[in-house]
């Protein structure tokens, strides 16, 4: 029966709710379809939670304000779509380099350029990984339902605060705008991670980029007495710029090794019917719903199809997919782009079996019937 904790809401609304549950205290953003409901929700709710909402003059300013807010000690986020995500890339790189926790939501719409503002796409998957220049760590998550949007928004904050790596939450227009049931968990059931601080560290002795066992240095907010320096230049443990090749190498390798060291904590995958699967599907976001529908229909027809659904897109679930490289006879990767993750599946499965693509870039979702047809063709 209806309880106050069960509501019908959209993915965008669930994202705002998840952010609040995770303790977000700063949102800086710029209006863009189909993400604006996230900003609208938080503009209403953040002042009531003692948090800050600010609409900036563009997306470059939005991510800049988010990084500043995080440096000042707040859990901070922005939300945008393709064109705005493109504008944010330089400062996302800054957050990677200076290790500033932040969450960037990209509700994907059709691209490139202005593209299809009101229609779904998954065309920014590679951009989420390599949108900013230079070797850098990044985490990207892709929820497939309203409930999972709530959960993964919390997880995005937990990961960024734990590892000081920016987290991109990749929704697509379908997930952002679909309305479905969400039963809110008890607040006590929600695991919320806070960044490791070093408030007790004596000001001048605080080494902001100290090499620690976890690879993640503790972070003291500005205004807490540490008086240190943050820069996007290559820097040493003190945070000041350096041209020493040894120190630069150490920094770049440490930044990127954070992903390797914590990979298994970060990568999350859901398997459906994979135990005996001969046709393996890999799908994420709203497309995974089409794929799961197709797998269920195939199973009803006695076809051994299964689905691997990466909830974490970056780092990629290569080992998880690779484990089935010899079991399946063929892979199918449906995507609302021209094959961005399909290439990753080829690498992950070491090209041992053909990877069949089902792609749509016309603003329409992939119909499960088309996937089912492909499955039947392959049997």
């Amino acid at each position: 029966m209806a309880t106050s904790r069960t509501r019908i809401l959209s993915g965008n609304e669930a994202c705002a709710e998840g952010a609040l549950a995770a303790g977000v205290r700063f949102f800086g953003g710029y209006p863009i379809t189909p993400s604006s409901e996230i900003a609208e929700e938080l503009s209403r709710k953040l002042p009531r939670h003692g948090g800050i909402f600010i609409q900036m003059e563009d997306e470059i300013a939005s991510i800049g304000s988010v990084i500043g807010a995080s440096i000042a000690g707040s859990k901070a986020m922005t939300a945008t779509s393709g064109p705005g995500f493109s504008l944010m890339q330089e400062n996302i790189g800054y957050a990677c380099m200076a290790e500033i926790p932040c969450v960037i939501v990209n509700v994907m719409r059709g691209g490139p350029s202005t593209g299809l503002p009101t229609m779904p796409s998954q065309g920014d998957v590679m951009q989420a990984r390599w949108g900013t220049h230079g070797d850098h760590p990044i985490i990207a998550l892709a929820p497939f339902s309203v409930r999972e949007t709530f959960d993964l928004t919390i997880r995005a904050f937990n990961l960024t605060e734990a590892f000081r790596i920016p987290v991109v939450l990749l929704l697509d227009e379908i997930i952002g705008h679909v309305n479905e049931k969400l039963t809110f968990p008890d607040p006590e059931e929600i695991r919320v991670v806070e960044r490791k601080s070093g408030r007790k560290i004596n000001g001048q002795d605080y080494l902001p980029y100290r090499v620690t066992e976890s690879g993640v240095p503790p972070m003291v907010s500005f205004g807490e007495g540490a008086r240190y320096h943050i820069t996007g230049l290559a820097h040493d443990e003190t945070g000041f710029p350096t041209n020493d090749p040894e120190k630069i190498d150490q920094l770049l390798r440490r930044l990127n090794s954070k992903l390797d060291a914590h990979r298994d904590e970060i990568v999350e995958v859901e398997y459906s019917n994979m135990d005996d699967a001969e046709i393996g599907l890999v799908a994420y976001g709203s497309t995974a719903r089409s794929a799961r529908y197709a797998v269920r229909s195939a199973r009803e027809k006695g076809i051994a199809a299964g689905l691997i659904r990466p909830r974490t897109l970056w780092p990629f679930a290569d080992r998880e997919i690779g484990a089935y490289a010899d079991q399946v006879k063929a892979w199918i990767v449906p995507e609302m782009n021209l094959g961005q993750i399909a290439t990753q599946v080829e690498c992950a499965s070491r090209f041992s079996r053909p990877v069949h693509r089902i792609n749509r870039v016309d603003g329409n979702p992939i119909n499960p019937v088309d996937i089912l047809k492909k499955i039947e063709d392959l049997v």
């Binding site: 500043g68 440096i71 500005f222």
Partner: protein
Amino acid sequence: MFDYEQYLRKSKMPLIWCAGCGDGIVMKAMLRAIHKLQIAKDDICMVSGIGCSSRLPGYLDFNTLHTTHGRAITFATGIKMVKPELHVIVITGDGDATAIGGNHFIHAARRNIDLTVILFNNHIYGMTGGQVSPTTPFTKHASTAPYGNIENPFDISGLAAAAGASFVARATAYNAIQLEKLIQKAIEKKGFSVVEAMTPCPTTYGRRNREGTGVDMLLYQKDNSVPVAKANKMDAEELQGKIVTGVLVDREKAECRQEYQNLLDHFSKEGEVDS
């Protein structure tokens, strides 16, 4: 003798600035102003973009943030919104603040957020070798204006004033005493405050335009400065090539972080969290 060392990170010296550069004069004027105001070092957050002047915060013992090109004001906005108790000072240059960062500059002024911007105007992109900037005067030479600048320059103070800043002032590196006083006023002012500090770049601007040494360029500032009261009585032709100095704008208007605080106070009094 003023003790500058209490504010310096001496281990980060020597400075990257060239001999004859005016940036050090502006930095010292700013330190004296901060000292007069008795602001604790922990309570100052200095945010810069990219360029010669933007290297300044690294030499000073505050909370210092060296951001991306043109974006210092956006990072500073996030910090100020979260920690309004900090004095947030933005160090930027003419290219950083009014070319790549021009949109942020005018919007921070419109928003009237309580930041102090010290804008080092040397008419050139110095760090990258002397390319033409939005304030390079008409006909002057730069590495990317080898036949003379065919574009009109910005009047930065005029831009800040028109965009809505609470406080706008201009001074020269030559008149370091005035500079110090104006920076002090700018920090004290609640609202968006801009001090346009005219500073010579003998290396990449002066040499190319045959304006002599750093000292020659400072003397040029001396000879061509006009106090704002006097300038008000002069016509446009008389003001050609002059540097109008002093307080150009000082007005009271709603400040965005305070307005947000009123909202927060309203809801915390209401004690209502969810809706």
